[in-house]
């Protein structure tokens, strides 16, 4: 039976729920546009969640103002994935979130006032550390015990899913809510601009003319249950988490290697762990950020693993923007939707193949093809490469 996914939740630039996200994916509607809620940044376009902090707090019933947007987005998705699951004294339940910015959206408000000596509010810093974003989500959901946060930049979300699956297989937990969350912040926008990989136009993953990413924000969560938990909870499995792997590229602190070493290892090991053949991968939800470097390196890795038989693939980053630590979790939810509804999602803004690799992504919504197994890639700073294989529940 292995590890089953029994609940999913997502919030992103294309919607506040799984249904809203699915509709936008079906309709080819991007959520990237000029910033409305986060003011004072140098970003032209970003994938912003269409709700203010006050609106999120009200909708979620969170009283305190001292809560990061990262926690609020995470809570929104975690609640949806948790659904009407019951707390249990018998089902050992944990939570693993992941984030790269933590409460930076609040800390930078503090720091601006601090530098200006303009009466800075030190309490804003109580949500700074990444672990506190998860502690807040756990508290709102009433989860105690195993509460953990991973932070491996843009691969974090997949790593949380992987760790959750391993904890269940080792018998350390019976049920675990796993995912990732990141809010937009001036810090990350300035950071990616300083690296000169922030595109002022719409991002164009896997296109020859691609010139960088657009940042996004959001959260994805999945409820994982093992056999014992399923027997007690009666939850209905949607998919299996079948394969996973993490590997270090060990090439450069930020850039990916031209030979795609780390990515190749992650993809190949995840498929091997799933125990399925290469030809059984129905669809690849690529990392596909739209940077020159990532999309080239990822294409080479797909070539390395699949040779001339690269499965249908696309990046959904042109819908959501690059949501950093949340990306792997949001895209795992999208991968579940691909399996559940037999859909292949379009890679928006694509026109011309990358000259060196010639790979052509899925460019229109494809319906009707049976989707049994999806590979989802997430690659991050520090050469942190992770891949996940989700399969239809049998």
């Amino acid at each position: 039976m292995g590890v089953c996914i029994t609940g999913i939740g997502v919030v992103s630039a294309i919607g506040m729920s799984v249904d809203e996200n699915l509709n936008a994916l079906r309709e080819g509607r991007s959520g990237i546009g000029p910033l409305h809620y986060l003011q004072g940044t140098r970003a032209g376009l970003a994938g912003e969640v269409k709700a203010s902090n006050d609106e999120l707090r009200t909708a979620l019933g969170v009283g305190t103002e001292y809560v990061s947007r990262t926690s609020l987005l995470g809570l929104q998705a975690a609640r949806e994935a948790w659904g009407d699951s019951k707390r249990s004294g018998v089902i050992r339940t944990g939570i693993i979130s992941s984030t790269s910015v933590g409460g930076m959206d609040r800390s930078e408000v503090f720091y601006k006032d601090y530098l200006a000596q303009h009466n800075p509010d030190y309490r804003l810093l109580t949500t700074h550390d990444s672990g506190s974003t998860t502690e807040r989500i756990a508290k709102e959901l009433g989860i105690t015990g195993y509460i953990n946060t991973l932070s491996t930049a843009c691969s974090s979300g997949v790593n949380a899913i992987m760790l959750g699956a391993r904890l269940i297989l080792q018998g350390a937990l019976d049920r675990v809510l796993v995912g990732g969350t990141d809010a937009l912040s001036g810090f990350t926008i300035d950071g990616f601009r300083s690296l000169m990989i922030y595109d002022d136009q719409w991002c164009r993953p896997f296109d020859e003319s691609r010139a960088g990413l657009n940042l996004g924000e959001g959260a994805g969560f999945l409820l994982l249950e093992g056999e014992k938990s399923l027997e007690l909870s009666g939850s209905k499995p949607i998919c299996n988490v079948s394969g996973w792997a993490n590997a270090a590229d060990a090439y450069h602190q930020t850039a990916s290697s031209p030979d795609g070493k780390g990515a190749t290892l992650a993809i190949a090991n995840a498929i091997r762990r799933a125990g399925i053949g290469l030809d059984q991968i129905s669809y690849v939800n690529a990392h596909g950020t739209g940077t020159k470097n990532n999309d080239h390196s990822e294409s080479v890795a797909l070539w390395n693993v699949f040779g001339d038989h690269v499965p249908p693939f696309s990046s959904t980053k042109a819908f959501t923007g690059h949501t950093l630590a949340a990306a792997g979790a949001i895209e795992a939810v999208f991968s579940v939707l691909a399996i559940r509804h037999n859909l292949l999602f379009p890679n928006l803004n694509y026109r011309t193949p990358i000259a060196e690799t010639g790979l052509v992504p899925v460019t229109r919504l494809e319906i009707g093809a049976e989707v049994n197994a999806v590979l989802s890639n997430s690659f991050g700073f520090g050469g942190n490469n992770s891949s996940l294989v989700l399969t239809k529940y049998e």
Partner: protein, 311 residues
């Protein structure tokens, strides 16, 4: 459930104490005073000078300890690298925040690149040329215990040697923040890194066995949680020769030592306690079982049980 043995076959710490390169350090430690400072080794022996220049304190400490561990364990490569950090790369984070708010135009990216929490694990993989599993846990005061738990799982899954450690760095603004938020800091806020090699077999160089590690968050713990942990390991408090703790001593143990006055306060100070325990066990002075009780934050409990290597 019987679990295979896990061995600590290397340990390395850079801290405000004379820990680095000083086996047996635990015998002579005195509590830190307010003026204590980080005791840095000659980093050039471990890190290329060009890289070193760009590295913050937390990166230097981490890479040096990691390399020291690999040499001590006598291995070519660990199968995985797992790091815990409570607050991550504060020096670069503050630097980039400052630059972004004060500089117009193009910003230098180095401090942004090095601000992410997984920079230590990433830099270690780069410096070792390691392509294995590479993970960073950040769960407040339990970051190190979570990393250790992950490392233990990896060895049970078949890895031979896992490099596992923790690091946190102090920056000046932390004192101001602690004051303003009324955090009690009876001992100094410090920086440190501790790394270990956790192995599935003892090649003759293991200093201690890791029997179990446990974390619990979100609720204030009680004595019964500690008793249950010991019970799962077939032990009672009277079997513990040394308790290393953050808060109150445990009654019934043969000896209690508070480790914060020795390590100073930082989110992953329990990693210092682990090295202290390994050092005590390696000295073979009659201590067989050591329990580390990390309640640095009252709603987070970390428990780590170590045993002497069986003769």
């Amino acid at each position: 459930m019987s679990k295979p043995a896990l061995y600590l076959s290397a340990a390395s710490t850079i801290s405000h104490q004379p820990t680095f390169g000083h086996a047996g350090f635990s015998a002579a430690l005195v509590p830190l005073d307010a003026a204590s400072a980080l005791i840095s080794p000659d980093y050039k022996a471990y890190i290329d000078a060009g890289l070193l220049r760009r590295m913050s304190k937390i990166l230097r400490m981490s890479v040096a300890c990691a390399k020291d561990c690999v040499v001590q364990a006598g291995i070519e490569q660990p199968d995985a690298i797992v790091v815990g950090t409570g607050l991550g790369c504060l020096q670069d984070t503050e630097k980039f925040l400052n630059t972004a708010l004060t500089v117009e135009g193009l910003l230098p990216p180095t401090s942004f690149i090095q601000s992410t929490h997984n920079t230590m694990a990433g830099q270690i993989s780069l410096s070792l040329g390691n392509h294995g599993y590479n993970m960073t846990h950040t769960q407040n005061t339990l970051s190190f215990e979570h990393a250790l738990f992950d490392a233990a799982m990896l060895v049970r899954e078949g890895d031979s040697h896992v490099l596992v450690g923790a690091a946190d760095e102090h920056i000046d603004i932390l004192n101001d923040i602690a004051d303003r938020l009324a955090f009690e800091t009876p001992v100094p806020l410090t920086s440190a890194a501790s790394f270990f090699i956790l192995s599935g077999t003892n090649a003759g160089n293991a200093a201690a066995r890791l029997a179990d590690v446990y974390t619990s968050g979100g609720a204030e713990y009680g004595q019964e949680e500690i008793d249950a942990f010991l019970d799962r390991n077939g032990m009672q408090i009277g079997d513990i020769d040394l308790v290393l703790h953050t808060g109150n001593p445990l009654s019934g143990a043969r000896q209690n030592t508070g480790y914060l006055p020795l390590a100073g306060i930082y989110p992953t100070a329990s990693a210092f306690a682990l090295h202290y325990a390994v050092d005590v066990l390696a000295a073979n002075g009659g201590v067989r079982n050591v329990l580390i009780v990390n309640a640095l934050r009252k709603t987070n409990l970390g428990l780590t049980l170590l045993k002497a290597v069986e003769a």
